[in-house]
Amino acid sequence: MDSTLRLIAANPVDKLARTVEALLVVASAPLTVAELAEAADDDPERVETALGLVRERFSEPRSGIVLEEVAGGYAFRASREAADACSRLFERPVERGLSPAALETLAIVAYLGPCSRPEVARIRGVAADSAVASLVERGLISEAGRESGPGGAVRYKTTPLFERVFGLESLAALPRLDDLGEDATELRTRLLEVAESRAS
């Protein structure tokens, strides 16, 4: 009995505090006391106590990692002392070019007009999900309604930023591809035919 009591007395909230630290460093959104308590399988009151220890350990100016209480709960942030370093980390150098996958996807959307992901995938012969997502994130393409019919896929079109980056007055100023077809319809047919022959 004695030894059990001593074990519990040996600062059990310390262990809970370590668990709370661990949960917060893995989370990609602030965690509430209730969420922390459920994950740690412990009382909300004890979690509050543990959070007190964590706040003590991770507070300015002694720590670069700082516990912050935000609207939705608790999360770690970088210390203000490290603000300059953090902004240097997140300031991305101007990117020189696009990946081949992104360039192919962008070319398809630019020349064929609004296109859905399945259509881009059919022409490229591989899934286009991540290429489309990265182009949307960069603001080079954006949603342009859905394909007709129930459950139609989202279609994408190029943006004004795309025209600026590529130095085009408008989409009409895209270099002509007469050797591949007279208009977008012919070009689309040609690309789909080639994609089919590649797949067979």
């Binding site: 360039l103 192919e104 022959s197 067979s200």
Partner: protein
């Protein structure tokens, strides 16, 4: 044999159904693990006391046809490198490929174990909750690059080389018809002299056709001694012969 129960990645059920699905093109031959089919057949065979030659023959014919289908589906334009190889070189190449695949299977097993041992490592996926929002900026781009990307996509892949035709198995049906035509003119023939001059692959397929004819009861096959010429006799002729001898 056709009831052979299969449990493969892409298919679970009797062999018969697998054939039906493949022939009706509801299942792609390239998705089917044919080695798994062979292993299942060998297991059944090992459980039996007697070897059923008919079943083995039928299986050989079917599995070789499936292999041909699959090879065509997987490597439509693979050059006929293997065909040009001497048997020893071919064995070497086969061993090399088997060893490569075996090592990859071992590597996959290592990765699977690693997943288990690293199951208690947790880390954040995605951005931190209170991290600054990065902004991506792109340098000015040349619009010609877009056209070049599309031109590449609009270029048909190299036309399928016909060299591999030599590697392809001629259809078993081709030899079935040839032997049937032969037997309509002659009562018996020697297999060896009939396939003389053909490639090894063609000879093998011709032999499969022979097994098929025997299974259908159209021919009898006899051989005086191992490696002696294989003699093919029209079945009804043989029956008549036997009947004549018996009645005599």
């Amino acid at each position: 044999m056709r009831e052979l129960a299969l449990d493969l990645d892409a298919f679970e059920g009797p062999f018969d159904l697998l054939l039906t699905l493949l022939l009706s093109e509801d299942l792609e031959p390239r998705d089917v693990d044919l080695a798994g089919v062979v292993l299942a057949f060998l297991e059944v065979l090992a459980e039996r006391d007697e070897v059923d030659l008919d079943a083995c023959g039928e299986f050989l014919v079917l599995i070789s046809a499936l292999l041909e289908l699959k090879a065509r589906a997987l490597f439509p334009d693979e050059a006929a490198e293997l065909d040009a190889l001497e048997p020893e070189e071919a064995a070497e190449e086969l061993a090399r490929r088997l060893a490569e695949y075996r090592r990859m299977k071992e590597a996959a097993a290592w990765l699977a174990e690693r997943l288990v041992s690293e199951r208690d490592r947790f880390f954040r996926l995605g951005p931190a909750p209170l991290a600054p929002q990065p902004e991506r900026r792109l340098a000015p781009q040349d619009p010609e690059a877009l056209g070049a990307a599309l031109r590449l996509l609009a270029t048909p892949p190299p036309s399928v080389s016909l060299n591999h035709m030599a590697l392809r198995f001629p259809p078993v049906a081709q030899f079935l018809e040839r032997f049937r035509a032969l037997l309509s003119r002659r009562r018996r023939f020697d297999f060896d002299s009939e396939v003389h001059g053909l490639s090894r692959v063609e000879q093998a397929v011709a032999f499969l056709a022979l097994l098929e004819l025997r299974k259908a009861g159209e021919v009898a096959i006899s051989q005086a001694a191992p490696f002696a010429p294989i003699r093919i006799t029209k079945a009804d002729v043989e029956r008549i012969d036997t009947w004549t001898r018996r009645s005599a």
